[in-house]
């Protein structure tokens, strides 16, 4: 270590890696993975979300899973939850849709309204 800058760079790099352990205040992508969700391809959607985040180097976005909320006919379901905002639930999410949700909603903050399945939109 020959300078403070080097230390700062090292910090920035690792900080992203361990941000999974901290509350970042950024949106969380929740993939519903009940049996119905898995049967309808939730696993692929989850993988697509991870690949897209990695591609965009968005390691401070948390990806978690949860069970079936009961809307089995609309699986795979994905919820985007942001602190202080109403969660947005997307239905029949495909691999392609997942990428667009990340770009439009997670990155740009514009929910893709036509895909939302929340009862009150």
């Amino acid at each position: 270590m020959r300078s403070l800058d080097e230390l700062k760079k090292l910090k920035a790099k690792t900080q992203k890696e361990i941000s999974t352990r901290e509350k970042t205040g950024k949106p969380t992508i929740i993939v519903h993975m009940g049996t119905c969700g898995i049967a309808n391809g939730a696993r692929e959607v989850l993988n697509a979300a991870l690949a897209e985040l990695k591609e965009r180097n968005l390691t401070d976005i948390h990806v978690t899973q949860t069970g079936c909320p009961g809307l089995c006919h609309l699986e795979p379901l994905v919820t985007i939850s942001e602190p202080g905002k109403k969660p947005c639930v997307y239905g029949k999410v495909s691999v392609e849709n997942m990428k667009r949700i990340i770009l439009q909603h997670v990155v740009n903050g514009q929910p893709v309204t036509e895909w939302l399945v929340n009862l009150e939109k």
Partner: protein
């Protein structure tokens, strides 16, 4: 860079390692590979969370789900349910001792809620074997700050202003110690870390070293800069293998990144650290004995003055601080003396780590602001007394400390209040005792320890502790004499004023404090030949209460020495001559007909 969606932190501190967390890690990694999740879920070995009686502990991020007492057999379910399907495994969650409601996230648990983690802020959060994770949480930025922005005098001033006092026992102001060493003439100076934690039941320093070793290294380098030293030594006991291993790795990593060694940050400051392993003598926790041992000689104390700040290691000016003291330093530099001084009481600033042990529901390691009451520690954090028995006292400060009775439960804990109560902070071992504990026996236990650990150099300690132990043993065996209490007090006073080092000077504390608060128990042992708590075997007798005995004969069948006789369906009788007071009969009796007095 790999991107993992989930981090699984498993404690590999000493507590969880002994409940087999290593095997857990191996099995979990295997399960993840079988389910094709090894690239999504990262397993991280971390330091102590503090909740040791629930080990092995596993925390899953980003959700922050807290699983406890996880066994290898549970892992398949955790992987299948939680990691594949996102369903938290309810049965492995924690529930408060007094409720059945399960708590998912670990910041919601009462045990953690009342704590304020400063020295332990990285324990259970980072992987202690990766210097990068320490750096990601602002590690080594305090060292950078002092080298770039502060003069040594400013560093000392900042530490003085923070009000930090030594966490190893005495509570001497750290900033003043540094100032003495900085002002002492000499071209060669040393920084020493006292990691010779020897109190029975104490594992604060151990957990810091295992969970956050770099904090200690960084602090030592800061101290080196402040006093003008370029060499440090950590004296750690060889009985702490995990701590030794992690320290060794940490030193190597810091050297590799140039955070130890020559010309750190290109600022012309050199500092390096060496490890010295102690053989585990209690007296080597005393600073002069420790320094002698680092020099490679037999660990015996020497008179002070001269204090180590003037004549320490190899007669050179030396500062010697405890692990927890050092762990606070980088945080003080980073967040400022005012931030640190905003916690605690008037004369005791900051936080203190305590090891909670004894008859308490939540055993483990806690860190609370100075001035927290014993009641909060025992009842809110500790969850109360085991089996909801009555609280009797806590023994604080180990063999050098004393007991604090129930009447003082609401005293704010800080250095000065503890001294006033006849105890001392010590390193922070807290042993909770309930009504089944005999205070004379406790005093005897601690005296047995100090007597055994006395180095023998000075007669007050060598002979005095022996005599005190003899008297205490005699009392617990029912052979106490009326003059014993006076003799104990006289001996205690003499030893306190004449022993060479702190080990001897504080050795009578357990006796003096139990005499102060529980004199009646001593008197009951000596005059009535009774042990009120029912602990001292020689003073006990077992009797069968005639009215309650149904004559089932279960006691007689279980007595190992055939001391119980009688006819079926008639009250049985114990032969006192034959009885060895093992208590087997009392344990077996279904009608509560056997009495111990």
């Amino acid at each position: 860079m790999e991107f993992y969606r989930s981090h699984v932190l498993i404690c590999t501190g000493t507590g969880c390692t002994s409940s087999n967390s290593r095997a857990l890690i191996d099995t979990l990694k295997k399960e993840l590979v079988e389910n094709g999740l090894e690239k999504e879920i990262q397993v991280i070995e971390t330091g102590c969370f503090g909740f040791c009686n629930l080990g092995p502990i596993m925390v899953v991020y980003p959700e922050g789900v807290f699983y406890c007492r996880v066994s290898e057999a549970d892992l398949r379910e955790v992987v299948q349910e939680h990691f594949v399907k996102g369903r938290v495994v309810q049965r492995l969650l924690y529930h408060e001792p007094n409720s059945t409601v399960k708590t998912t996230e670990f910041d919601e648990i009462e045990f953690f809620k009342h704590q304020k983690r400063v020295a332990l802020s990285n324990c259970g959060v980072i992987d202690p074997e990766k210097i990068e994770e320490y750096i990601a949480r602002d590690g080594y930025f305090a060292l950078a700050k002092v080298l770039h922005e502060m003069t040594p005098a400013q560093v000392i001033e900042e530490i003085k202003k923070s009000g930090l006092r030594g966490r190893g026992g005495g509570g001497f102001p750290t900033g003043m110690k540094w100032e003495f060493a900085a002002k002492a003439p000499g071209d060669q100076k040393y920084v020493v870390c006292n990691a010779d934690e020897g109190d029975p039941g104490a594992f604060m320093d151990r957990s810091v070293l295992e969970g956050d070793p770099h904090a200690v290294l960084e602090a030592m380098a800061i101290a080196g800069y402040a006093i003008g030293a370029n060499q440090g030594y950590i004296y750690v006991r060889a009985e702490y293998p995990i701590a030794v291993e992690r320290l060794t790795k940490a030193i190597e990593q810091a050297r590799k990144l140039g955070l130890l060694g020559k010309n750190i940050f290109g600022m012309g400051f050199d500092f390096d650290i060496g490890l010295r392993l102690g053989a585990g003598a209690f007296v080597c926790g005393e600073e002069t004995a420790l320094l002698t041992s680092v020099e490679g000689r037999r660990g015996e104390p020497r008179p002070r003055p001269p204090f180590p700040a003037n004549k320490g290691l190899w007669e050179k000016p030396t500062i010697i601080n405890n692990v927890e003291t050092f762990a606070n330093i980088p945080r003080i530099i980073r967040y400022g003396a005012d931030w640190f001084a905003s916690m605690g009481t008037e004369k005791s600033k900051g936080t203190k780590v305590f090891a909670l042990a004894g008859k308490i529901k939540n055993t483990g390691l806690i860190e609370v602001p100075m001035g927290t009451t014993l009641r909060t520690i025992v009842y809110d954090i500790g969850g109360g007394i085991l089996n909801d028995k009555e609280f009797k006292a806590v023994q604080i400060g180990g063999p050098s400390g004393g007991c604090i009775p129930a009447a003082l439960l609401d005293t704010p804990i800080d250095y000065d209040n503890l001294i006033a109560a006849g105890a001392m902070m010590g390193s922070g071992g807290l042993i909770v005792m309930d009504n089944d504990t005999c205070m004379v026996d406790i005093a005897r236990f601690f005296l047995e320890f100090t007597q055994d650990e006395s180095c023998g150099k000075c007669p007050p300690c060598r002979i005095g502790t022996k005599r005190m132990l003899e008297i205490l043993t005699r009392i617990t065996e029912g052979k106490g004499k009326p003059e014993d209490i006076d003799n104990l007090e006289a001996l205690a006073k003499t030893i306190k004023s004449s022993a060479l080092c702190a080990l001897g000077q504080t050795s009578p504390n357990p006796i003096l404090s139990t005499l102060k608060y529980f004199r009646d128990e001593y008197e009951a042992h000596i005059h009535d030949k009774k042990c009120p708590a029912g602990v001292c075997q020689a003073l006990l007798s077992y009797t069968i209460i005639e009215d309650k005995c149904r004559g089932c004969g279960l006691c007689a069948r279980n007595c190992p020495v055939n001391a119980i006789s009688g006819k079926v369906k008639e009250p049985y009788v114990i032969d006192r001559e034959k009885c060895i007071k093992c208590g087997a009969c009392m344990e077996k009796c279904k009608f509560g007909a056997i009495e111990r007095k």
